[in-house]
Subunit: 345 residues, 4 copies
């Protein structure tokens, strides 16, 4: 098998600068659980990037980030409105329901994006005790289908949420890719647009482990430290998460990594245009490509480059690029596709 695949951006390794940062903080002792100076300076950096009023909590992984965010904003009788392809609905084995007790109300969204119109179908039953009370709208940026919300789209949803007494959660496992795509700052794309709580992804953008849950302000975050601990998401040797985020947020590494992944996706999409047997099904806004391919292409191609079938019913596959994907990887991939097609003619 080729040494890089297109299965997921979490199949990539750790960016060298991040690895160096890990070594760099491995000196002497540090107080555990985030009471150390490295964690303090990482949080400072987050405030520089996302705004002075934000509150930051490091956790282990994306599911951990999402369930922490949702628990912080809800009671168990609440409901969370999300897309039917949302990671919190499809890919977390029911963690949100188990940890928060809440119901997830899904909306069919063919491009992975929510709109106020789509959300409205669940905006009823307020004050009616038989009905789980909607309290959070959760959007994913970039979406699970590789599309990206514009800042205006986010603002519109945020305003609608707040007018109706709901919070806006953003699952930003690939937030950096969205920001790179829109050429805007992380702040403009999140808290300036009205996001209340953000799952800020690190692992898919070059970290070894670690995500951050960022709250818009202190009020929202008041008791989050207990929720994090009770959810088994508090790391003892916290400096080793903090140091990675410091590396990511310094010198624009987050942007370089995301941009590289996005550009490789665009390159791949571009090269696919010349292959009529492959039909790209979603707009390529970030680092994911969805395509319907001939069934006979899938297995031999997977043997060379591992990837997942997204929708078996129509032979739709997902190809993700990473911060470490280079044009040569795309070349090799396209070459192999062409080979298999040639063999099947």
């Amino acid at each position: 098998m080729y040494h890089k695949g297109f299965a997921s951006d979490n199949n990539a390794g750790v960016h060298p600068a991040v690895m160096q940062a890990l070594s760099g903080v491995n000196k002497g002792h540090a107080v555990g659980y985030g009471e150390d100076t490295i964690t303090a300076s990482a949080i400072e950096l987050f405030k520089e990037v996302l705004g002075d009023s934000v509150e930051v909590f490091f956790v282990y992984n994306g599911t951990g980030a999402n369930v922490l965010a949702l628990q912080a904003l809800t009671q168990s009788y609440n409901a969370v409105i999300c897309s039917d392809v949302a990671h919190i609905h499809v890919d977390e084995c029911g963690a949100p329901e188990k940890l928060s007790g809440c119901k997830l109300l899904t909306v069919h969204s063919p491009n992975g994006k929510l709109t106020v119109d789509l959300i409205k179908q669940h905006m009823h039953g307020f004050g009616f005790e038989h009905h789980a009370q909607p309290k959070v709208i959760s959007i994913t940026q970039a979406t699970e289908l590789g599309t990206v919300y514009s800042i205006e789209e986010i603002k519109t949803i945020a305003e609608f949420a707040h007018e109706n007494g709901l919070y806006l959660h953003m699952d930003g496992a690939r937030l950096a890719n969205a920001a790179a795509s829109l050429q805007c700052s992380l702040k403009e794309l999140t808290f300036d647009a009205g996001v209340d709580v953000l799952s800020f992804g690190g692992t898919k953008n070059g970290l070894m482990f670690g995500e951050a849950v960022v709250f818009a302000n202190r009020q929202l975050a008041e008791n989050v430290k207990y929720v994090r601990k009770q959810s088994a998401q508090l790391h003892s040797k916290m400096r080793f998460i903090a140091a990675q985020f410091k590396a990511l947020l310094s010198n624009g590494l987050w942007l370089d990594n995301a941009r590289q992944a996005n550009q490789m996706a665009i390159l791949l999409a571009d090269r696919l245009k010349a292959i009529p047997q492959v039909e790209v099904t979603q707009k390529v806004d970030s680092n994911g490509i969805f395509a319907i391919v001939p069934e006979w292409l899938i297995e031999p191609l997977q043997k060379s480059f591992f990837f997942y079938v997204w929708d078996e019913s129509r032979d739709e596959v997902r190809w993700m690029t990473s911060f470490d994907t280079v044009p040569e990887d795309i070349d090799a991939f396209i070459e192999r596709i062409k080979e298999i097609i040639a063999q099947n003619k």
Copy 2:
């Protein structure tokens, strides 16, 4: 402040061999979520060390390990019997109750150890639906008070558990220290002695992050993968946990690290004998020392070497040594104690 403290073995950094292992596996792509070859070989190593029939699940931290183990063995109407100083009862912010729904039934154990006699007070109400049904006995090895169960003591509890239809869980956050203390193998101390599920600690013995939940056999572990995912304890870039454990279990690193920590605790205890103002309160079996000290000693000493007060009501403090503690650290610490005492005369 001195560059090393005695607060906790998780205030230490990462052992250099572990850090090297992390760099070593940072090449190319690897399938995520544990489907990679590095994880496979780490699991193989676990089987060599703990027995062929064991099943291994890597998680993020100690609380994650314990709640995974307990959820795997219980239904929500069950109860878990443990010591009143057990980490699962005192230091996990109610995570076991929240995740498993179970009741914790505690036993007052002045030295941190359970005995069959102590356990028996909770062995009633079986079949009576008003009563949470005891299903797991949970012991900590080494205990939270630094003491160590002998193999015989564990066997006795395991036999009692099994005769009564209960499982034996071992919280082995400091299992290596116990094995070093008893000069026995990890297998003799766990599955050979009747343990059903083990939280195998890594972080406190020199890892950056990562613990392993090890089940005695496949039957017990049947659906654990779903529980791990739903509990937000499944790491995507799994090779980076696996590589650390490979380093720890290879070339006896786990034993060297534990032995060093233990020897430093013994050295510290030995040196304390010459200081009549300090009364060691627990047997020093592993790497923790508990001592009652003059109240005026605590604050100035903490300013030089950070540590926790264990029981404020009687000025009992806890001092932990680590794999990286060296005799010079003990010297400096003892020196500082003597200085403060001299100043208070």
Copy 3:
């Protein structure tokens, strides 16, 4: 306001025979929590009606019955497939998620009924730990929209469920109405057709309080008594639930009550045909009528006869008949509708 409304069959009172049964057992003491002879004989009666192998657990209400049934068949990482109008999804404030931890996977079903084809959209991801594992299909009989599954339709779903390792749960809050509609026995409609666990409704068919959860066999029910107690659904003075069910299942009272309600719904539907402003939207299989009406009709009619608006977006209302509805009630209701229409011309 008229002394009877069409809001819900639970707005009716208690059938006189049930009230008499309650008085009848109010003599002396009885062992609590179901260990009494009246409960034993009520369970015997259930076995006569539903089959010798069934296991019966009395609970307080419909939500209690459903969450007990679902908890008994699932682990928290499972999913339950149901209609998007299912009571467990829409009307229980998230109780199933909270109590079981499971995800509910909904299917859009315009007539309230599931089919194998509809269910299939959720039959994937088995063995994939990221995905909540489907374990139960839950159908409502009669449905929340007043329609009724045929025995064949249930058998088809049950076979599909069992072939795929899933259980079939039936929410039978209005099971009696369905049986009356189909002119079949309760057994033919449930366990003979492959149902694994049944929420057997009592309150909507003339009881004061109390429902029964009936399992197809002992294996399924093994630990249910603990789940019932932990879910706060175990009544101490159990004879008072048991006596009501004895009355309901004796002398065909369940059938008389259900038949009366159904016949009144048919009568009402029939009378509505003469009113062109009212469009009945669902097949009238049991005791519920759904109709789109002029918006100006709703409020004045509610002032005379209380009822609920089902779908505000299209002025669809729900009218339920009860065991105590009589033709005179229908007359008065139709009369009032005509009056309001006349006033609005």
Copy 4:
């Protein structure tokens, strides 16, 4: 077996006045779920008895009342401090942990009563995220051991709770017996003394089913209606709970019933003095008697009058009197005890 036993006050039936009230409200339709006039007037009556500012929620049973009260006052990372014989700890199969997620911190209390001194052992770790945060002190009045807190004792605990930011919950399953014992009003004994939320018992004092959860004020009760529904404790035909409470709170029925039970307990205790083989172990403050008896007495006596062994390890039994116990029952019971003793001489 004798037609009345001494197993529990919930082995008694329904008081005739309560049964009459049930029949009395069984007329026509009433809006469901508590929106009816009977429920409104029952709540009004509660306000008269317990204070204008209270908020009342009817539920099904004692466990339902307690878990509603605790959920209303806590987040899942909180802890509840209670006696080690508390019903919420010993007799609810872990319902509080499952529903609230909270940890129960128990105190060994030989007479069933908490004191500030006993509570203090758990008053630490505030603000420390590793520690479940104490938020509620829960006391039972009358206690599970038949003893009764004085008003002063409750005030002292309430003040301590409030000074420390905790709430005081009272499990009043037998509150009426306590008030009868102390000859004070229900209000003096609860909200005047500082109770924040009360589980007000009905079933053990002559109701068929139904308890009330009463909050000191609206702020505490803000979202309780959702919690009640999600906990499967909302009755549809609510008028039938409300009517019972109206009967209980009218004309002093609650007091007559409780007084009768208490007096019979005192009578029984008095008669037992003449039997040297029976040693009463607790103060007889309400309607329960605890006694150590010869082992050979237990089984034959249970055959005549059913009751529970409280502590098998020392042959301690519990005998409860009820609102319907009369002196002749005591006579028969004492007679039988004497007979068995005579046979064993």
